[in-house]
């Protein structure tokens, strides 16, 4: 333990050159919007690399298909601390979806521990650096359930409001050109103006709703911040603590563990990656390959022998039949030709009696 502390202190002295700033500023009067943004923004980006790695693996496994909504899926994954419980409501209750596949649910389930870790890390930084307060125990979990709760209630409302606003503004922009004095406007100009009109309205409404949402998150988190005790150290001490917090206790072990995880993820990725394209072009469809039956030399030899013996028996039978017929002919000639009855020639195509064909 003591050794770890020594390593951390040495590492720290290698990394940073510092000097305490004059005076101390307090942030107890920070607006709820700033507060919500200050915690959520870094937390979302901190957890994203891990969530992205999982998403790519799931795409390679083929258990997720984002269809044409990959940008929306990316945003929902980025903001998973607030979207995690809102997504089922939006998907099932409001009939919208970000894609298909069992992997989506699994991805958001796995995002929960990642988000708790990310919120804990960024929350502790925020408490020390911005609020000058002692971060309470299990901060990540507390911040996560509060954010997820606000998201579960507010995001479906935001979704419905934004969808309705966009729908109304698109219709209004269309009607201006169809019914009004701008009827003869060329198509390129019309598209750009319509987009500007409804895009501005939709963006303004979305921005307002975002600010309201962040403010709600901030209000939920304010209680946790205010109940935390003030930190005793000066600015230098706080920055040192905040900075040490980000230094792993054993950097070598951390590096080895991360390298190991990277190797495992890379192997999983390459093993699950389809070898041939999942979307073949019309011109290059592969011809259906018929699998040739397995070659068994002894069976084939036996079969051929049987066939040869059958054919030999048939030839023998035909020769005998022909010889009998000739004998019959000669006998009738000897009788003096009185009998003019013609002897019927045996037909070579005549079916062979079953007894001859038998093995």
């Amino acid at each position: 333990m003591q050794k770890a502390e020594v390593i951390r202190t040495r590492y720290r002295s290698l990394c940073i050159v510092r000097q305490a700033p004059p005076g101390i500023w307090m942030n107890d009067h920070m607006s709820p919007t700033k507060l919500g943004f200050g915690i959520l923004w870094p937390a979302c980006w901190t957890g994203l690399p891990i969530k992205l790695a999982l998403a790519v693996l799931f795409l390679a496994f083929g258990i997720v298909d984002f269809e044409s909504r990959i940008a929306l899926a990316f945003l929902m994954l980025l903001a998973s601390p607030v979207t995690v419980f809102a997504l089922p409501t939006i998907t099932m209750g409001l009939g919208s979806h970000i894609g298909e596949g069992a992997g989506i649910g699994l991805l958001f389930m796995l995002a929960i521990p990642v988000d708790i870790w990310a919120l804990g890390l960024t929350g502790r930084t925020f408490f020390l650096e911005r609020c000058r307060r002692e971060p309470p125990a299990r901060l990540g979990l507390t911040l996560w359930w509060k954010c997820a709760l606000v998201g579960a209630i507010f995001l479906p409302i935001l979704w419905v409001a934004e969808r309705a606003t966009t729908h109304v503004s698109v219709s209004a922009a269309h009607s201006i050109f169809e019914d009004g004095f701008l009827e003869g406007t060329p198509i390129a100009e019309r598209i750009s103006i319509e987009l500007t009109l409804w895009g501005t309205v939709a963006t303004v409404v979305l921005s307002c709703l975002f600010v309201i949402g962040l403010s709600l998150v901030g209000r939920m988190l304010r209680g946790t911040i205010l109940s935390a005790p003030h930190a005793a150290e000066n600015y230098e001490g706080l920055i040192t603590r905040w900075d040490l917090m980000r230094v792993p206790a054993d950097p070598g072990l951390m590096l080895t563990a991360l390298s190991g995880v990277a190797v495992v993820l890379s192997l999983l990725f390459w093993f699950s990656l389809p070898v041939l394209t999942p979307h073949p072009h019309e011109c290059c469809k592969k011809a259906e390959v018929r699998v040739a039956p397995e070659f068994k030399p002894f069976d084939t030899l036996n079969k051929d022998e049987k066939m040869i013996s059958q054919l030999a028996a048939r030839v023998e039978f035909l020769i005998e039949q022909q010889a009998a017929a000739q004998l019959e002919k000669q006998k009738s000639k000897k009788k003096g030709g009185a009998d003019h009855e013609a002897v019927k020639e045996p037909d070579a195509t005549e079916p062979v009696p079953a007894a001859v064909m038998a093995p």
Partner: protein
């Protein structure tokens, strides 16, 4: 009594090799110089774009070289060899799709990097030359996109190049020569493909490596600008060395970009249209997505006619380029805080929104035409 030297631990093979190289090239000093650069105000995520661009370029080189093992740069075989890469080569579809989306990622990251430098006011004295070389690198990246788009030799490639060369034809004085040189004939054909291929795999990479080296050298000479807010004392309190924090952020940024490009390759792998012919048929010719905003301008009535087309395709973008080139030389105000530079902030917002608006308009227009 004989003096015996103190028996320390024997150096490992790796240490011996390091010492051998260090003795000859000064590896320790070089490593210290590279890693111990101080970052004013500490490491930041906003600084990762430069490293990410280098990473994307590296990956484009690797995937490009692998694709070249199978690609045949002739008008007769380019399309078939690309289809072969997609359909028959093991993981070929992924390599090609990664290369395709990587080029788009490069354009996006160049824009993000330039925006960060502009908004941070990091182009100001003494970093003017870094900005100028950065602009040249931006032009090279666009050149990579333009020349690489033709190589699959399908209808999309053929017509995007035709539109691009026609736009280039409108450049005064050298436009006609450039267009004729690139096309190598009345319509894009074997000569066009050969020239685009050589420019794409030889000329541009060489130029980019040289200019990127110069960019980094100038950056090391001037040092990082640091954040635009905060007192000198606060900045000094948070100052870090480049290693390990900024490198860690860069590595995470690179991993995220790799994941994003891979996800895009899975989501929308490259699928070729029909082989290139001089008859567009049902296909509506248009350039790559990052030139779409200029293309949409050309559709507007106010830019119809010979002069209008020249204005929209050459004069306005050219003026913007010249303005960006001269920016550090006429903006001599040392203030770097973007919120105290309203003209710069408004200019950046207007430009970004316009590009976004006209790109989306072009996509809607395409759907309308289809």
């Amino acid at each position: 009594m004989r003096d015996t030297p103190s028996a320390g631990p024997q150096p490992t093979v790796a240490e011996k090799v390091f010492a051998f190289v260090d003795e000859r090239v000064g590896l320790k000093q070089l490593t210290a110089k590279m890693l111990n650069e101080s970052v004013p105000g500490g490491s930041r995520w906003a600084y990762v774009f430069g490293s990410i661009l280098l990473f994307i370029f590296g990956m484009q080189t690797v995937t490009g070289v692998l694709l070249m093992f199978y690609y045949v740069p002739t008008a007769d075989h380019a399309y078939a060899s690309t289809q072969y890469i997609i359909h028959d080569v093991d993981y070929g579809w992924f390599l090609l799709s990664y290369h395709f989306w990587g080029s788009s990622a490069m354009v996006v990251c160049v824009f993000a990097h330039m925006s960060q430098v502009f908004l941070w006011g990091a182009y100001k004295k003494p970093r003017e030359l870094i900005w100028v070389v950065g602009l040249a690198l931006f032009a090279l990246v666009m050149g990579f996109g333009f020349t690489g788009y033709l190589l699959p030799w399908d209808q999309r490639a053929f017509w995007a190049t035709t539109v691009g060369v026609e736009i280039m034809d409108k450049i005064p004085v050298i436009g006609d020569f450039l267009a004729r040189f690139l096309k190598g004939g009345p319509i894009p054909g074997q000569m066009t493909l050969s020239r685009f291929f050589v420019i794409h795999v030889m000329v541009l990479p060489a130029a980019l490596i040289g200019l990127a080296g110069l960019h980094l050298f100038l950056f090391r000479c001037a040092g990082p600008a640091g954040p635009f807010r905060g007192t000198p004392v606060e900045l000094k309190a948070k100052t870090d060395y480049f290693f390990p924090r900024q490198i860690w952020k860069d590595v995470v940024g690179m991993a995220m970009v790799f994941a994003c490009i891979s996800a895009l390759a899975f989501w929308e792998p490259v699928v070729l249209l029909d082989e290139a012919t001089p008859d567009p048929g049902d296909y509506h010719p248009e350039p790559e997505w990052y030139f779409l905003f200029i293309f949409q301008h050309l559709r507007l009535r106010m830019f119809s006619g010979e002069f209008g087309q020249f204005l929209a395709s050459m004069l306005l973008p050219g003026l913007l380029g010249v303005m960006l080139l001269l920016l550090p030389f006429f903006d001599r105000n040392p203030e770097r805080n973007i919120f105290k530079r309203p003209l710069a902030l408004i200019g950046w917002v207007v430009l970004t929104v316009s590009i976004l608006l006209f790109t989306v308009s072009a996509i809607i227009n395409r759907d309308f035409l289809d």
